[in-house]
């Protein structure tokens, strides 16, 4: 198994030196962050209300303007008029765009799924034709995969493509639904089945004859973005606009979604920091019972936990961006093989991408919910931005693959790598199961400090392997029918990636701190790892109980007990400490 290979986090402990953490940002990264922030605060944040009111033409105008400072073409190679930024810089931008409210979704849709299919899977001619415009704001991109009858089940698309007589065009017919940026997009990346069979990607120009749009959807949140259906009525698409290869639309669609997924995780981290900043300020200024509510323990507990989860998610997304950067950075984006190679590289981290999507969106939903709560009744009133944060957050668990389908994918993609021989997962599951029978194979965890946290994380990995092995063994033929079990296994895997990424980051901080655990990150690590262990223990129990009985179950449970033995830390005090730190700093600050 290669170092840092996709899925390897489940089998080995990350070497902090191999992992990108936010503390590794260069001066250039910081300048990029500041440049994005200055533009968003100067040009977009002041007009969020107008965006929310769908002021005609405003969103596309802002998108185009943002191209002038480089917010539209970060991921587009320099050869095609973009900037070819590293994946960290582009994640930094993604983390900043929530400062612009609904602008975030419009921007990320354009830079991610609206442009990347051409970046990774377009041919040279398509790249030359579309990428410069997508980078400089002349063209706004959009991604049209979903159909009324094909949501999660995207391959069930009913849209058809038929080659015209003479072979110059494909004639597309069908309807795409819920398409972000549709109202002002210049191009649509869409999918249709050639002759009703071969699922294939296409690039369609906005002004194609036969293309029309449905009414704007009246949405719960992200009300400032355009969401409309795309109606294709005998639309003639030149054969040159077929994307990648006939019948290979799924390769394009799913790999691009992988990138979209971890980017979404990054946007959620940015949005969480924003909600935290508002909440910290509010809690410090709102006086009840003669005290700022920030003085109250139940409020500190919430703020502490909001910071902890934000920090963990941040550790996870930057690690993932670093992994993908390392894997893709040497691919020559002008070569005809770039598409295949990129796809392979991205697919390697499909599990990690899904993890970031699920974790990021659920972290944000938690954070905005508590943000509203801390604002009390005012949080429910539109005068306060948290009311919007709360509504805007909800979509993240639905689009870019619902969290349910992503949970199924987390395990499925790992197993796929294992079956291809790219990840020694099955061997590891067997090893964990045989260790279970000999008590000596399971050593007891150290009682405190980073060693305890590391050993618990190792134990969590063993638990993950044990439950996966137990379920696999009990359901060799009908595994896919066991969704509840897969969901819980994935929850455990998500927590493992979270703990592993968190500890790698804190260890890297320790190295720079003369080996000492830095106070606040240390508090976060202690609280989080112990909490995660409690959650993992519960899921594992439920899983074992669903697949075994009697003595087998008893053996499994006693192994579980040994693996989850630890001295609890004073999470109450530590969470308060974390809260006090950000209350003092006035914003999300973890140092």
């Amino acid at each position: 198994m290669e170092k840092n290979a996709g899925g390897s986090f489940l089998l080995e402990t990350a070497d902090p030196d191999d992992i990108f953490t936010p503390e590794d940002m260069t001066e250039e990264h910081k300048l990029v962050a500041k440049a994005a922030e200055e533009f968003l605060l100067g040009e977009v944040a002041p007009v969020i209300d107008d965006l929310e009111a769908k002021k005609e033409g405003l969103m596309p105008q802002l998108l185009r303007k943002s191209a002038e400072v480089g917010l539209m073409g970060g991921d587009i190679p320099e050869e095609y008029g973009g900037m070819g930024l590293d994946k960290i810089s582009s994640l930094i931008i993604t983390e900043k765009v929530p400062l612009g409210g609904p602008f975030a979704v419009a921007n990320v849709d354009h830079t991610g799924i609206g442009s990347l299919p051409i970046v990774y899977f377009g041919n040279d001619e398509q790249k030359k034709r579309y990428l410069p415009g997508l980078a400089n704001g002349e063209l706004i991109g959009s991604y049209a995969l979903t159909e009324p009858e094909a949501g999660t089940d995207a391959l069930n698309a009913k849209t058809t493509a038929t080659l015209s007589e003479g072979g110059k065009y494909y004639i597309l017919n069908g309807e795409k639904q819920f398409i972000t940026n549709a109202g002002y997009a210049d191009i649509f990346i869409t999918y249709a089945k050639i002759d009703g069979e071969q699922f294939t990607g296409f690039i369609i120009d906005r002004d194609s004859e036969g293309l029309s749009l449905g009414e704007e959807e009246d949405k719960m949140g992200i009300r400032g973005t355009s969401t409309r259906s795309l109606i294709l009525d005998n639309v003639k698409v030149p054969v040159e606009n077929l994307l990648f290869k006939p019948g290979k639309g799924h390769v394009v669609a799913f790999n691009i979604l992988n990138i979209g997924r971890y980017k979404l995780g990054g946007a959620c981290v940015g949005a969480a920091k924003l909600a935290l900043a508002d909440t910290i300020q509010y809690a410090k200024s709102r006086v009840q019972f003669g005290h700022p509510i920030a003085d109250f323990g139940l409020i500190k507990e919430k703020i502490g936990e909001m910071v902890i989860r934000t920090f963990v998610a941040e550790s996870m997304v930057y690690r993932n961006a670093g992994l993908i950067e390392d894997r893709l950075k040497d691919i020559d984006m002008t070569s005809p093989e770039a598409g295949f190679e990129s796809a392979r590289g991205i697919e390697e981290y499909a599990t990690e991408c899904s993890i970031n999507k699920v974790y990021g969106s659920e972290m944000l939903d938690y954070v905005v919910d508590e943000a509203v709560q801390i604002h009390g009744g005012y949080g429910y009133i539109k005068d306060y931005p948290v009311e919007r944060y709360y509504r805007d957050s909800r979509i993240n668990r639905i689009f870019e693959g619902t969290n349910e389908i992503n949970r199924l994918l987390i395990l499925r993609m790992l197993l796929r790598r294992a079956l291809k021989g790219e990840l020694p997962l099955v061997q590891a599951m067997k090893q964990a199961a045989s260790d279970l029978l000999k008590p000596s194979g399971l050593r007891q965890a150290p009682q405190e400090g980073m060693e305890m946290l590391e050993s618990l994380t190792e134990n969590a990995k063993k638990i993950g392997l044990l439950v996966a092995g137990a379920v696999y063994q009990a359901h060799p033929d009908d595994l896919s029918e066991q969704q509840e079990l897969i969901g819980m296994i994935s929850d455990i895997i998500i927590e493992i990636f979270a703990m592993d990424s968190l500890l790698a980051r804190v260890k890297k901080m320790m190295k720079r701190n003369n080996g000492e655990m830095p106070e606040i990150p240390g508090a976060i690590a202690n609280v989080y790892v112990i909490d995660a262990m409690m959650r993992i223990e519960r899921w594992a129990k439920l899983i074992f109980a669903a697949v075994a009985q009697g003595d087998v179950l008893r053996t499994q449970l006693s192994a579980l007990k040994r693996l989850t033995r630890y001295m609890p830390v004073n999470s109450v005090a530590l969470r308060r400490k974390v809260a006090d730190r950000v209350l003092q700093a006035g914003r999300y600050l973890v140092s």
């Binding site: 001066e27 250039e28 910081k30 300048l31 990029v32 500041k34 440049a35 994005a36 200055e38 533009f39 100067g42 040009e43 002038e68 400072v69 480089g70 917010l71 970060g74 900037m83 930024l85 810089s89 931008i93 410090k284 003092q584 700093a585 006035g586 600050l589």
Partner: protein, 263 residues
């Protein structure tokens, strides 16, 4: 035209909860976000606009530790050509006078037709560095500049005065101007710009390189020093205006007019 712009990296203090540190002479800065001094950002933009119209070069100079490279590189990304950082432990504790000596020592041997500084710095508010620098270099200067026109070797500048007055002056180049906010609309830094200058060397010079001794700079070389920093106690005399919304507005306007807040 060779333009030199002096820029400073300052903590953003307007909305932060400040804490005075143990020396009682400074604030705790660990938690603060740093940016280019607001006035200096306008000065950089003014320089770029002049260069765009007249040609020439722009060099930005900042005194401070390595972190100051961030504001220097930012100015390069906006359109400056060169950046120099002046740094030495001996510079610490310099007042505006000593700081001007540091800057003058660096600038005197560089080609300069025009030197721009901000009117003042966000953090220490001396409002004197630019003017002192002009004196040391023997240059004509104008402070609080809100408009610049150049014709031949003559500058016509507008200065913003109290009471809404505006003054027009002419100066012969070389000269120094301290730039007021609002003189222009500083451009956004583009990520393309950042990429363009990412690899650019930023030279660092210390006291010895500038021919300065320990007695010229820092506290030794200063004419004033900070004695104490404190938050004044919250005063009495706040007036709560009562009434309906319209009545409140009416009373407020009346008070503001009476006290000269609005015309």
């Amino acid at each position: 035209m060779d333009i030199i712009v002096c820029i400073k990296r300052v903590p953003e203090t307007a909305e932060a909860d400040l804490v005075i540190d143990g020396t009682k002479k400074a604030i705790e800065t660990d938690d603060l976000v740093y940016s280019i001094n607001e006035w200096d950002n306008y000065a950089v933009e003014a320089a770029i606009q002049l260069k765009e119209a007249e040609g020439g070069t722009i060099t930005v100079i900042s005194v401070g530790p390595e972190e100051n490279n961030e504001v220097l590189r930012r100015a390069l990304a906006m359109g400056a050509d060169e950046a120099i950082r002046l740094t030495d432990p001996a510079f610490e504790g310099s007042d505006a006078y000593a700081m001007a000596k540091v800057l003058a020592a660096a600038i005197k041997d560089m080609p300069h037709d025009l030197i721009l500084t901000g009117v003042q710095a966000d953090d220490d508010g001396f409002g004197a560095t630019g003017v002192a620098l002009a004196q040391m270099l023997g240059l004509p200067y104008a402070a609080l500049v809100t408009d610049i026109k150049k014709e031949g070797d003559t500058l016509t500048v507008h200065r913003e005065l109290e009471g809404g007055l505006e003054e027009v002056d002419t100066l012969k180049l070389p000269a120094l101007l301290t730039i007021q906010t609002g003189i222009n609309e500083p451009r956004y830094v583009s990520i393309m710009g950042i990429r363009r200058v990412a690899k650019k060397e930023i030279a660092a010079k210390g006291a010895a390189d500038l021919g300065l001794s320990e007695n010229d700079v820092g506290l030794n070389g200063s004419m004033s020093q900070i004695e104490e920093l404190f938050f004044p106690p919250v005063g009495e005399g706040a007036e709560i205006i009562e009434g309906t919304m319209d009545e409140k507005a009416e009373t407020l306007v009346k008070i503001l007019k009476e006290r000269g807040g609005i015309a």
